[in-house]
């Protein structure tokens, strides 16, 4: 999983560099994008738990934005400390072509599954709210 995140980090990193011709903050941008993907999984897991076990906690969803901020800053701190992003980029260069292709397929699959899962749980929670409207 970490390898997958590292791979996606590098893909976003090089996308930013190529698209915006700017090399000062691509690692911040890539970190933010990967953080969003990571948060998608966190939200899915937490929403699933709340929905199936503790429906009265579903309102916690309003606080995900703060959780996302904490995750983002933690990730930025992690990636900046000791210039870890350089190591990640170096590791990426060491990957074989076959490994990269495999990771590309997995990452696309991962993004699609993440998107689908968040939409699915959102639908389920919405249905719950339809049946139990707030007064």
């Amino acid at each position: 999983m970490i390898l997958l995140y590292k791979y996606m980090f590098c893909r976003v990193y090089y996308f930013y560099v190529n698209a915006f011709k700017e090399t000062d903050i691509p690692h911040y941008f890539a970190t933010a994008v990967v953080s969003v993907l990571f948060m998608t999984n966190v939200v899915f897991v937490m929403d699933s738990f709340f929905f199936f076990f503790k429906c009265e906690w579903l309102d916690f969803g309003s606080y995900y934005k703060f959780l996302a901020l904490i995750v983002l800053f933690a990730a930025l701190f992690f990636i900046q400390k000791k210039q870890r992003y350089q190591h990640i980029l170096n590791d990426h260069e060491q990957l074989s072509k076959r490994a990269r292709n495999t990771l590309l397929v997995i990452s696309v699959f991962y993004v699609l599954v993440s998107g689908f899962s968040i939409c699915w749980i959102g639908e389920e929670i919405r249905q719950f709210h339809v049946e139990n409207p707030k007064m």
């Binding site: 915006f20 933010a32 969803g61 309003s62 934005k65 959102g122 929670i125 709210h129 339809v130 409207p133």
Partner: protein, 288 residues
């Protein structure tokens, strides 16, 4: 009439907000003119403008979004050809009809002023509040259990649009190819004919790089929040499925630099304060 603190507070957040915008605009204007605090000495063509206008109802409205086109007392100046101020009239009408501005992202501050009037009331010349007019029935598409027919009780959409505009304005102030200007480390705006030095920073290395960072990173954060906010409202059954798709689509368009900002502002303002029988709050109060 003596304006006391109490009457000032009674005047509502509208006035407080207006003063805040004016103060910020004034400081930006001063900063962009080498910290010259006298507006009359600001150099035309190299200033970030701010303006104050009093309309017929006696409301003082502040136009705090001037641009690099020069000082303006009646409205924001242009940022870019056909930019934020370039289509003063087109945006106003467009936003009320749920349509974006004509491809250039223009804004009419009159719309913002009306928005304030809508929310905080209208006062006459003697600071007496004019009674509210009964609102129209909200659009049918908004009639959901959790929001009693109102599109949204908060201002998230408008605030996001305003934040997006702030990001774009800041980026354009720092480096604008259209206006042929860039902002140095010394907070002075220069022509792009000048390359810069150690004190001012480089035109490309400092200004263009910073402008890109502001626009891309700021825009991405605002856009991501927009996606989350729409999802959260849908999840809580505060908006319909159709609305979710429309809103997410609009949010995606908002990623386009400058034009996307204009779209976002027009969309947010029109939805909240515009007349429409198919979308938004269907508020035609300003057209009576």
């Amino acid at each position: 009439m003596i304006i006391t603190v109490t009457s000032l507070l009674d005047y509502g957040e509208f006035l407080v907000s207006a003063i805040a915008v004016a103060a910020v605009s004034y400081v930006i204007g001063a900063a962009s003119n080498g910290w010259e605090w006298n507006p009359s000495k600001w150099t035309s063509g190299h200033s970030v403008g701010f303006g104050v206008n009093t309309n017929t109802a006696g409301n003082t409205s502040v136009y705090g979004f001037g641009g690099t086109g020069g000082l303006s007392w009646t409205g924001g100046a242009a940022i870019g050809n056909g930019g934020f101020g370039g289509g003063l009239s087109s945006f106003g009408q467009a936003s009320y009809n749920q349509m974006p501005s004509g491809g250039t992202g223009s804004i009419n501050m009159r719309g913002v002023e009306r928005a304030y009037q809508h929310e905080y009331g209208v006062w006459d010349n003697s600071f007496n509040k004019i009674p509210d007019i009964v609102y129209a029935t909200p659009s049918p598409i908004m009639e959901l259990p959790n929001n009693s027919g109102n599109f949204s009780n908060d201002y998230d959409g408008v605030l996001q649009a305003a934040a997006g505009m702030g990001v774009d304005v800041a980026g354009e102030i720092v480096f604008s190819e259209v206006n042929n200007t860039w902002l140095g480390k010394d907070f002075k705006i220069r022509s792009q004919d000048i390359g810069g030095n150690g004190t001012t920073g480089g035109k490309f290395k400092f200004a263009r790089s910073l402008s890109t960072k502001i626009k891309v990173f700021g825009g991405a954060v605002i856009g991501a929040y927009g996606y989350y906010d729409n999802y959260n409202q849908y999840r809580n059954n505060e908006i319909s499925r159709t609305t979710l798709y429309i809103e997410q689509g609009s949010n995606t368009i908002g990623f386009i630099l400058v034009f996307g900002t204009g779209w976002g502002i027009g969309w947010g303002a029109g939805k909240r304060w515009g007349p429409s029988k198919w979308y938004g709050d269907n508020n035609y109060r300003w057209f009576e």
